[in-house]
């Protein structure tokens, strides 16, 4: 499907236009993600699939968190062996393993 969401903006223009350059780095990231979300919710109306085209998306393999036990066991192992956590889910550990 053809996307209508192509953006051709010089580097840094978006941040200057939105006034993001004045914000702390963390807040700038947050605002940018919200902006992407807002674009996804309204600005990209040609993205997506029609209701009758959701057949493949309904398959288990296409689900977000399709195998939750597997994912959470992986998160648990990596949380106990590495310094990073979060992203896919919350960063909290729930155990004394790190």
């Amino acid at each position: 499907m053809k996307s209508s969401c192509r953006l051709y903006l010089p580097k840094g223009l978006t941040e200057r236009f939105l006034g993001l350059a004045a914000l702390p780095k963390a807040r700038r990231l947050l605002v940018t993600i919200c902006a992407i979300g807002a674009a996804g919710s309204g600005g990209c109306s040609t993205l997506g699939a029609k209701p009758w085209e959701h057949d493949l998306l309904a398959e288990r393999a296409m689900q977000v968190g399709a195998y939750p036990i597997e994912e959470s066991m992986d998160d648990h192992i990596y949380f106990s062996k590495e310094a990073s956590s979060g992203g896919r889910s919350f960063a909290g550990g729930g155990c004394g393993c790190n």
Binding site: E82, G87, R88, C95, G96
Partner: protein
């Protein structure tokens, strides 16, 4: 194979409850077009058994059962239990030496006069000794001493743990497009307890093609180490130490999941975490070495900051090919302990037949070191406020290689088996190593294997 999308979260322990709650929210309603009320499963039972084997270190086994039950058209109850059993050896944090080294840790409090021969021996080949009790005291401390041979990386061979965990939650569709999820989780080890509660909202747009989600989690943990909580940067000894220590953490997650096309689903999420409280590992030590010979003069309990703020951005894509499915994700992470990391994950689900698939998996991870990570401290230099020799806070790379074979027993059940290996490599010969440390490996490679057997049924 086509299983009905699960509306309830399924998870393992506290971490699992968080992961599944977040995933459930991010999932939104993009698959709802396929659902039909009549004949749709109302109960899903998800179960797994994990065996984890580290070469020469920790061994673990973990069974998990999770249930989600659709109560009515809009509400789903979900709950689950998990158990962990761990034994083996874990690094102490001290450097190896060309000389034999003796380590001591408090082990048990007993009435004064209890013979050490009547006390069950500390595991891992340790010797139990009695620490001198104060005059008039009714109890005394038994301590376990371990001798580490020359040129051997110091490990605590007495490591053992049992953990039980459970979670309970409710997912409610408030409107056709708005979903609320809330729940709580509990986890208990013999030296640690964790309680948490989460709340999340997700809103679908564009005919269920876009889902915006936001979730909050509060976690309250209590650490009560065997031997008490040591004072950071004091010398390791066999005396019983300080009181329990607490940790409080708030997590926030926002995300957008977008159906890009009939075959492409994309998710972008941002998570922020702020933790305040005890985050030091009470069992880890750091060596203070002689500035010339590199021989350890002292072993101090490590010290970590009590504040930590983590941020990560996670980008995930699932692409349905003619029959196969490709999943690729990237995570960028940073925190105010100075750690930055990058995680890339790739899975290819090869649908070999109508009812079975093979899914190879690759994961690459790289992280930088925490600003207070040191392989060791040097005795003629000032001791910093924070110092840890825990190699999990060091700079290293890691790779996971694995494969999963899944078989659909019927339209509503699947059994799968996954085998994976995990390798971690860091710099074992840091520049500027002193004296005998030049000939030691200060970052021994970690190699682990996992075997995961899973079974899901919906009815």
């Amino acid at each position: 194979m086509q299983l009905k999308p699960k509306l309830g979260a399924n998870s393992v322990g506290v971490r699992g409850a968080l992961a599944a709650a977040a995933a459930g929210l991010l999932a939104g309603g993009h698959a709802r077009a396929q659902e039909t009320t009549a004949g749709a499963p109302t109960t899903t039972i998800d179960s797994a058994l994990l065996t984890y084997h580290e070469v020469n270190r920790v061994q673990a086994i973990e069974p998990v059962v999770n249930v989600s039950q659709k109560i009515d058209e809009d509400g789903t109850l979900y709950f689950g239990v998990a158990a962990d059993s761990l034994t083996g050896a874990t690094p102490l944090g001290a450097v190896p030496s060309t000389l034999a080294q003796t380590y001591v840790r408090p082990y048990k409090i007993v009435p004064v006069g209890t013979s050490t021969t009547t006390v069950t021996s500390a595991s891992g080949g340790s010797t139990v000794v009695t620490e001198p009790a104060a005059t008039g005291a009714k109890t005394e401390t038994l301590a376990a001493t371990t001798v580490v041979p020359p040129n051997t990386y110091p490990l605590d061979h007495g490591f053992t743990d049992m953990r039980g965990a459970g979670h309970l939650g409710w997912e409610q569709a408030l409107t056709q497009n708005l979903k609320l999820d809330g729940g709580m989780a509990y986890s208990k080890e013999h030296d640690y307890r964790s309680e948490s509660a989460h709340l999340g909202l997700s809103q679908d747009f564009n005919g269920h093609n876009t889902t915006l989600s936001a979730a909050l989690n509060y976690e309250s943990d209590l650490s009560f180490p065997i031997g008490g909580t040591p004072t950071p940067l004091t010398e390791m000894n066999g005396n019983w130490k300080g009181p329990d220590a607490s940790l409080h953490e708030i997590d926030a997650l926002i995300g957008v999941t977008q159906v890009m096309s009939r075959r492409w689903l994309s998710t972008l999420s941002y998570s922020f975490s702020s933790a305040h409280g005890y985050q030091t590992d009470p069992y880890k030590i750091i060596s203070v070495v002689d500035p010339v010979t590199g021989q350890p003069d002292e072993q101090l309990y490590e010290s970590r900051p009590d504040q930590r703020r983590k941020q990560s951005v996670f980008f995930d894509n699932k692409i349905h090919l003619a029959r196969d499915v490709v999943s690729a994700s990237l995570r960028v992470y940073k925190d105010d302990w100075g750690i930055k990391s990058l995680t890339a994950d790739l899975r290819y689900r090869w649908q070999m037949g109508r009812d079975y698939y093979l899914e190879p998996h690759l994961r690459y991870y790289t992280q930088g070191a925490a600003y207070f990570f040191h392989y060791y401290l040097v005795s003629d230099q000032a001791i910093p406020e924070y110092a840890s020799a825990d190699t999990r806070l060091a700079k290293f790379n890691a790779q996971t290689y694995g494969a999963k074979f899944g078989f659909a027993l019927n339209a509503a059940s699947e059994i799968n088996l996954r085998v994976e290996s995990y390798d971690q490599q860091g710099n074992g010969s840091p520049a500027g190593a002193i004296g005998q440390l030049k000939q030691q490996n200060l970052f021994p490679e970690l190699k682990a294997y996992t075997l995961l057997l899973g079974y899901t049924v919906a009815f």
